[in-house]
């Protein structure tokens, strides 16, 4: 399957370009929306957690930035997964009428969401720069580890996207189920809080075992908090990423032959 994707790399690149172009076609700001969306989000959090709700004291950096650094990879994952649930049925005419390897479509979904994620990153960095100028935080060398953290996210999300896209063809309920599962996982993952904020130790243990926890923690540690992740965190993150990638590839290749007929 990897070989087939490599052979189709030209097509994938063109399709990702098409996705990005088609997304904001006809809107006034066009491509700027990729930057404006996260910027607005950051602005809203800043207002809310500066003047409306007092920010929790456990967080050492400005809380809006803390939230934002957790939300960015989460939005990448949830957006890609929600699209994955419909990508093959949406491209059904192509699968049925043109000879086209089905793995192309989930890959395009993954990559176009990755591009959006990478476009939102500068907003986070700009926010951090503002905070640093105000003396609220400082940049750390761990920022250089960011590509590794993003790489783990891509593996993890990629595997899930493959599995979801193939399963959603046969089990149409998956799309609705996914919304709810994603909601649950969102609150089970320390995105809008830190594990230390949880008063009940049993619940804290559940959160620590949530598969996304190491990935979110790792990402936020290197990009924002300036903490060097320990070996156990790296191990957990890599384990989740590789596990997801392998499982997703397995599920997809098992169902591959049935996709064109059922999509």
């Amino acid at each position: 399957m990897v070989a087939s994707l490599y052979r189709q790399r030209g097509l994938i690149a063109v399709l990702v370009g098409r996705d990005l172009k088609a997304r904001y076609r006809g809107t006034f700001f066009g491509f700027l929306w990729s930057l404006l969306n996260p910027l607005m989000l950051l602005a809203v959090y800043t207002v809310v957690f500066t003047w409306v709700i007092p920010a929790p004291r456990q967080v050492v950096v400005p809380f809006p930035l803390f939230l934002f650094a957790g939300l960015l990879p989460w939005l990448f994952a949830s957006g890609a997964l929600l699209d994955a649930a419909v990508v093959l049925p949406d491209n059904g005419p192509l699968l049925k009428k043109v000879v086209c390897p089905p793995e192309v479509f989930p890959t395009v979904t993954l990559l176009s969401h990755l591009v959006h994620h990478l476009l939102a990153l500068p907003i986070l960095l700009a926010g951090m720069a503002v905070a640093a100028v105000l003396g609220l935080m400082s940049f750390s060398w761990t920022l250089l580890l960011l590509p590794l953290a993003v790489g783990l996210w891509v593996l993890a999300v990629g595997g899930a996207v493959l599995a979801v896209s193939a399963l959603a063809v046969h089990f149409r309920d998956l799309k609705d189920l996914l919304h709810n599962v994603l909601n649950l996982v969102f609150f089970l993952t320390p995105i809008i809080y830190t594990p230390e904020m949880i008063p009940v130790p049993a619940l804290r243990r559940v959160i620590e075992w949530s598969p996304l926890t190491p990935l979110v923690t790792l990402y936020r540690d290197v990009v924002l908090l300036g903490r060097e992740p320990g070996p156990s965190l790296w191990l957990a993150g890599t384990g989740v990423a590789l596990g997801s990638a392998l499982l997703g590839t397995f599920v997809f290749s098992r169902l591959r032959e049935t996709l064109a007929e059922a999509a």
């Binding site: 063109v14 172009k21 049935t258």
Partner: protein, 417 residues
């Protein structure tokens, strides 16, 4: 038409699962563990779309696929295109396949025609550079002009289809699959599509053509496969397959005993052809004759029930399936009045101007609507011998007039053809 066939279909069957909710839930686990979602159901229930179909298509050959709706034509196309996998049997395709099953499938409405052509071309197997290289030709063929840079959602349905066709044929496929698409677009564009297809035929592209337009199949296809309820009724010269299909349709419409018989001979038997012979100028039945000689085809018949609507027809073709000539009494303007008892009818050729080689004769008697009383394919074969063994079908009487070159006229017996 030699060497490795471009498409080889061997004993292919295709069964579709009938989707049931129980089956889906039942096999969720099985799907992950065995990768076969419908294993249990496949044996119990399902719709048999094709059973045991076999044929080959040579390079440069065009195969028509005809039959009523639901006879498995589209399934067969998708199997050849590699979109579906056969349940049993094998489909082998040598070279690049392009399927014109749905023109413009996958065009994205929001982006321009140019960008869509690029994406579509790459999906059909070209590299980015190849598509860019062929883009001017595509735009010209599709006659889109400045519209090429407008979003596809603003296109008329004709423009949409033209762009789809232009991209698909620009791929220069080894095997082209055409499903009922020439019915779209205006007369001029349909004509250009046909021209383009004829060019591909000459380039050696194998073409699989599905159409309900039987005239088009006869015109374009060398051979045709007549499918009914997933089985091949007849695979042979396009004219014969089309005639067989027409006969079945006419039988269904008039609720008369349907045509029965083998794939070489069929009909309801109300009138039978008792013998078909080629006679030379001395009224002797022959199997070999010299090109340019006088000859006639004699059909002896018995009308078991008197008929008032009848047509006698003959057709000549080569062994490879090339149509040579054909006509019938109806086409030549003869009005049927009554046919009873036994008798004979002849087609006379003052000069049989055929090129050297072996020819096959089809003879038929049927109603004007096409219902076959007796349709006999390849009922007779004969060989034409000529002095000049040039390949082809036609050898007209001719002479040279050297007004300038100093040529010596051959002696009388050398010249005779």
């Amino acid at each position: 038409m030699s060497g490795q066939p471009a498409v080889r279909v061997r004993e292919v069957s295709k069964r579709y699962p009938l989707v049931s909710r129980r089956g889906r839930l039942h096999s969720f686990k099985g799907a992950l563990l065995h990768g076969e979602l419908w294993r249990q159901e496949r044996e119990k229930e399902g719709f048999q779309a094709l059973s045991g179909v076999s044929f080959e298509i040579a390079r440069g050959e065009t195969m028509g696929i005809i039959g009523p709706n639901g006879s498995g034509k589209s399934t067969l196309l998708k199997l050849i295109a590699g979109i579906l996998q056969p349940t049993e049997g094998q489909v082998e395709v040598d070279g690049r396949v392009t399927a014109l099953i749905e023109l413009g499938a996958g065009f994205h409405p929001e982006i321009s025609g140019r960008e869509n052509a690029l994406v579509n071309g790459m999906m059909l197997g070209l590299s980015r550079a190849e598509v860019l290289d062929r883009l001017p030709g595509i735009i010209e063929f599709a006659e889109l002009g400045q519209f090429i840079d407008q979003p596809v959602k603003s296109y008329s349905s004709g423009m949409y289809v033209r762009l789809g066709f232009a991209v698909a044929v620009a791929v220069d496929p080894d095997v082209l699959i055409v499903d009922e698409i020439l019915a779209v677009g205006d007369e001029v564009f349909a004509h250009r599509c046909l021209e383009r297809i004829a060019r591909l035929q000459r380039q050696g592209t194998a073409i699989v053509l599905v159409s309900h337009d039987l005239g088009l199949v006869e015109q374009l296809a060398h051979r045709a496969l007549y499918l009914r309820e997933g089985t091949a009724v007849l695979c042979g010269p396009a004219g014969a397959a089309v005639a067989r299909y027409r006969s079945d349709v006419a039988a269904t419409e008039s609720a008369i005993v349907a045509a029965a018989g083998s794939d070489r001979r069929w009909g309801n038997g109300a009138v039978s052809l008792d013998s078909v012979e080629l006679l030379d100028s001395h009224e002797r039945p022959v199997r070999v004759l010299r090109g340019g000689e006088a000859a006639s085809l004699r059909l002896l018949y018995t009308a078991h029930q008197p008929q008032e609507d009848f047509v006698f027809g003959v057709a000549l073709h080569r062994e490879g399936g090339t149509q040579v000539w054909g006509t019938n009494t109806d086409l030549d303007g003869w009005q049927p009045r009554r046919l009873a008892g036994t008798g004979e009818i002849r087609v006379r050729f003052p000069r049989l101007e055929l090129a050297a080689g072996r020819y096959l004769v089809d003879a038929a008697v049927h109603t004007r609507a096409g219902l076959a009383f007796d349709y006999a394919c390849e009922v007779l074969s004969f060989t034409v011998a000529t002095a000049v063994p040039w390949p082809g079908c036609y050898a007209p009487a001719h002479d040279w007039e050297p007004n300038g070159p100093d040529l010596v006229r051959p002696s009388r017996d050398q010249r005779e053809v």
